[in-house]
Symmetry: C2
Subunit: 157 residues, 2 copies
Amino acid sequence: MQIDPGGERPPARVRPASQHLHRLVELSSEFERGLARELGINLTDLEAMEHLIQDGPLSPGDIARRLGISAASVTIAVDRLSAMGHVSRQPNPLDRRGVLISATPDSRQRTMSVLMPMIFAVDGVLDEFEPEQQATITRYLLRVTDRYQEKVDRLGD
Amino acid sequence: MQIDPGGERPPARVRPASQHLHRLVELSSEFERGLARELGINLTDLEAMEHLIQDGPLSPGDIARRLGISAASVTIAVDRLSAMGHVSRQPNPLDRRGVLISATPDSRQRTMSVLMPMIFAVDGVLDEFEPEQQATITRYLLRVTDRYQEKVDRLGD
DNA sequence: CTAATTTAGTTAGCCTAACTAGTGAATACT
DNA sequence: AGTATTCACTAGTTAGGCTAACTAAATTAG
């Protein structure tokens, strides 16, 4: 039940490109949710898996720093993932206190089989454009991320 | 403690534009987290606020549908937001069972004062490009969102 | 026109996943 | 050598979802 009390609301002064960008951000979190559901894990654990697949093996401390959660929470997350066969713990040969977490080959493959088509689908859009157009697109995205980064950095001032 | 066991890992076969795009998605959720922290509310409540500011007033049921959470959870969220003075409940004049939630002017302004500069910063990047380059960028983003949408739709098959 | 069903919002109680604090073992300082 | 720090983990707490059940109002059926 939505009621519009009259037209004193911020109009959409923003160009279509920016609207698409916003929509893209929404879609990407929908995609992550869907992928997590497909793998039967939660979003945090999926994020950990992505780091492990991309850059693993990682220590629990690494994962904690990357996800911005506590080491204690990572212990629990690794327990969950390990119980489902998604990751395994190995002793760190360089530090006898330490542990290294790796994604299991099976889980890596299962995740990649969903992730890679998405990655290539997005990257493939560039092939529809001429090299100089691609350069324009790249420059635009770089400029936008730069501005975003500035805003993020200045949030706590 | 990251250890690279040797170079049998998926190389970055993806072009810079796609990497920037991925970075952008990460930054945007960082921004949301920062904004939520700044307002002293959680991410769910922030998402509700954004809908209320953009399209409000909304019924609790509307909010539940938009956020993909249960109506019961919305009741609690509105309680939280209301206790902090971010929203208020009004009876729905068209349905005596119903309630309408609106963002308070104060909170609306506070949120907008962070959101608008970000929105304009991103939109403003387009001004650095010629009209035909802007058209290219728009077309690219539209194509990417389309592909993203397809992938999202086909996640549960 | 009354009775049954549906819809809206809320309340109560449960579960997941985060957090902080504290522990034992290994490593790093000096 | 002795102290301090770092690492992963455990225990206990808290936040914020969920489902189920309830009340009140609106709608539909007989």
